[in-house]
């Protein structure tokens, strides 16, 4: 449906006659669209003789395209109700009044009538638009219609306007989505919780050490077949488009599958309920759905993501206290990173170039090198002359560090604390003497220092992974089940523990067995 725009009168020249005639033409055009949908003649009988001028100036061309549209719809819908506010009679009187007003020079009246007709036609168009837009041809073509006559049980003489297909489609599609959600949840329960079907779709063999999921029941499928047959019959009677059969097939299939697996999810759920865990599940589900609604809202308001990031920055408050105390850098880094990333959704969407930023990013390492050379050359720290302001901004920090090195000041570590290199080396030597590998030596300072040292050690090993932990490994964990451990790791753990009480120092990511085994 197009060509239903309303003329913006404010933009026209303030000649009332011109405005009235233009709007009247607009009203006739929109009414012709409506009439095509409604299946009535666009130029009803009282006006027919007088519409020669309208037809002459092009608006009458619409008539050619008009076919009896709703006649088919009347036959194919069980409870058809035409748009009650604008029938042919009313349209005829309105159009006649419009013509009379135009002819009589009562332009304000003509404007009013035309506006009313436009509004009514648009409402009617919307009414028919939300009906099934495609009447079936084959049903009408093959013999007498089942519903051609008005059903005797039709409840009221003037039916209220109803939007059958809109409600029908919405409920069907929603049921399909809910069924899909339920189906995936049932799949999760079967595959990843108490039962042993480890994400395998069709195979029913249980994984080692797990209970096999209970068998499927057949009754829901039989019921689904019956419901599907009834639904298909209904769709055939109402002459629905073929896509509707697909729409209706999805919810039936998914819900049948969910109920066929009823024992799979009902048993754990009942056990949970007995232990009083149902309220917790409901609470988590409610919070989760509320969170999803917030995510939906971010599609309309981008800055909500910033607020959510600030909330995430406060997430460490609910961490275990032990973790916060032992890994202080972790929550500091997390909060800082969240606050930093939160700023981007406040910025305008990228549409223009800001080459200054790119310039800073691209040139800062190079500029740093040049500047340090200049610093070393004149020893004064004024090597900035040839560099632009943006570069200077990018490399000021690095330049300062270099400058301190040039002046033989005591080296600072990454946090800016004074710590001599010798002190750190001694510390690590002491540790090595205790029997651990140098890479596991506990390092003081910021995570950046740790990461840097790890990177250098990695480079020294020729890119091979460290035989020991990384700085980000969890410090301790409460293992409930005995874990298999290699003898080397056990020996290492029993002899020296870089951190007291450490369990995870020698853990390595389990999928990282590449070159070492070869």
């Amino acid at each position: 449906m197009n060509n239903v725009g309303v003329l913006p009168l404010d933009y026209l020249q303030p000649d009332l006659q011109f405005q009235a005639q233009a709007l009247a033409t607009n009203a006739r055009q929109i009414y012709a669209q409506y009439a095509r949908k409604a299946g009535s003649s666009p130029w009803p009988s009282p006006r027919r003789g007088r519409c020669a001028h309208a037809a002459a100036d092009g608006a009458g061309a619409v008539r050619v395209a008009v076919r009896a549209h709703t006649e088919l719809k009347k036959e194919s819908h069980l409870f058809f109700a035409p748009f009650p506010e604008l029938d042919e009679q009313r349209a005829a009187t309105e159009l006649a009044a419009l013509d009379a007003a135009l002819a009589g020079g009562q332009y304000p009246d003509a404007l009013q009538i035309a506006n009313g007709l436009i509004a009514l036609s648009l409402r009617g168009l919307h009414y028919y638009q939300t009906y099934a837009s495609r009447p079936s041809r084959w049903w009408v073509a093959r013999g007498p219609s089942l519903t051609g006559r008005k059903p005797f049980f039709f409840p009221c003489r003037r039916p209220a306007p109803r939007r059958y297909d809109w409600a029908f489609l919405r409920s069907i599609v929603s049921a399909g989505y809910l069924g899909w959600i339920a189906y995936t949840l049932a799949f999760m329960v079967r595959s990843f919780t108490v039962w042993g079907n480890d994400g395998v779709l069709l195979m029913r063999a249980p994984a080692a050490g797990r209970t096999p999921p209970p068998a499927l029941s057949r009754a829901p499928w039989i019921a689904a077949a019956a419901v599907g047959a009834v639904a298909a019959l209904y769709l055939a009677v109402t002459a629905a488009p073929p896509l509707y059969y697909v729409y209706i097939a999805f919810p039936i299939f998914f819900w049948a599958a969910v109920f066929a697996e009823a024992r799979v999810w009902w048993t754990p759920l009942r056990q949970h309920a007995r232990r009083g865990g149902l309220a917790r599940i409901a609470g988590v589900a409610a919070v989760f759905i509320a969170g999803m609604e917030v995510l939906v809202a971010t599609y309309f308001e981008r800055r909500l993501l910033t607020a959510m990031f600030y909330a995430l920055a406060a997430w460490p408050l609910v961490w275990p206290k032990e973790l916060r105390r032992q890994r202080a850098y972790l929550w500091v880094a997390w909060s800082a990173a969240c606050c930093l990333t939160a700023q981007f959704t406040l910025l305008p969407v990228v549409s223009d170039e800001h080459t200054h930023l790119v310039y800073v990013l691209l040139t800062s390492p190079w500029a740093t090198r040049r500047q340090s050379c200049a610093l070393a050359a004149d020893g004064q720290g004024d090597g900035r002359g040839s560099l632009g302001a943006a570069q200077a901004l990018g490399c000021a920090g690095a330049g300062a560090r270099r400058a301190s090195a040039v002046r033989h000041a005591p080296p600072l570590d990454r946090l800016g604390r004074r710590q001599s290199r010798r002190a750190r080396r001694d510390h690590r030597r002491r540790h090595r003497r205790a029997g651990a590998s140098p890479a596991t030596a506990p390092r003081r300072g910021a995570p950046a220092t740790h990461a840097w040292c790890a990177l250098r050690a990695c480079a020294r090993r020729g890119g091979r992974p460290a035989p020991s932990a990384r700085w980000w490994l969890p410090r301790r964990g409460r293992s409930t089940t005995p874990r298999p451990s290699s003898s080397a790791a056990r020996a290492c753990r029993s002899s020296t523990r870089p951190w007291p009480g450490s369990r995870w120092v020698h853990a390595r990511p389990v999928w990282s067995e590449g070159r070492r085994q070869r």
Binding site: Q129, W334, G463, P465
Partner: protein, 210 residues
Amino acid sequence: MLAGSGVSLLVPFVGPAARAHSAADRLAIVALGFGAPMVLLSISYEVLFYVCFAAVLFLWLVVEWHLAAYSAWAPLADGATQAPSHAQRRQLQLSDVRIGYFFLFFINVAYFGTGNVASVASFSVASVYRLITVFSPFLMGALLIVKITLPFFFLAAIFGILTRLVGLPPSCLFVLVVSAVDIMTLNFFFLVRDTVRVGRIRCRVAAAGH
């Protein structure tokens, strides 16, 4: 230039680098490997966004790892030399819903961080002009899409590693996310309208072309 950027996109993922060993190495390779085309294609603060986003994701991984260590189930065996078998993998818990939600949240952040992915037209073609000076819509569109999806690639890598790190079977959290995302789909389905004012469309077109 284009060939250079293509090589820089591919090099980290073929050859010896692809056979990196630990998760951290591999993550670093993925982040830096996608960082090269990001730098080449950025015209404004996209690289900064990419860096901050990657940092947050990496910290998220670390935090979840720690939290898994504090939960009842221990995430990794000491000195384990093989991937955990079926019996060793843990079951899905209620607290794993949080990981799924965080993943969806980060998808939204990647979505709206530098622009609106829903309309590629809202992205400036200027970012491609460094590589293609002659107008060719398909190549330009492909490059734009690559640029837009780079943060998503890194997010996917983090999510995959995180799933294994907390001891869950590989596709487990993904199924959870697929199930959860339909709540959003339902919302948008009910927000569908069948009418729109022409003026509004015109405004949107103008805003997109601007």
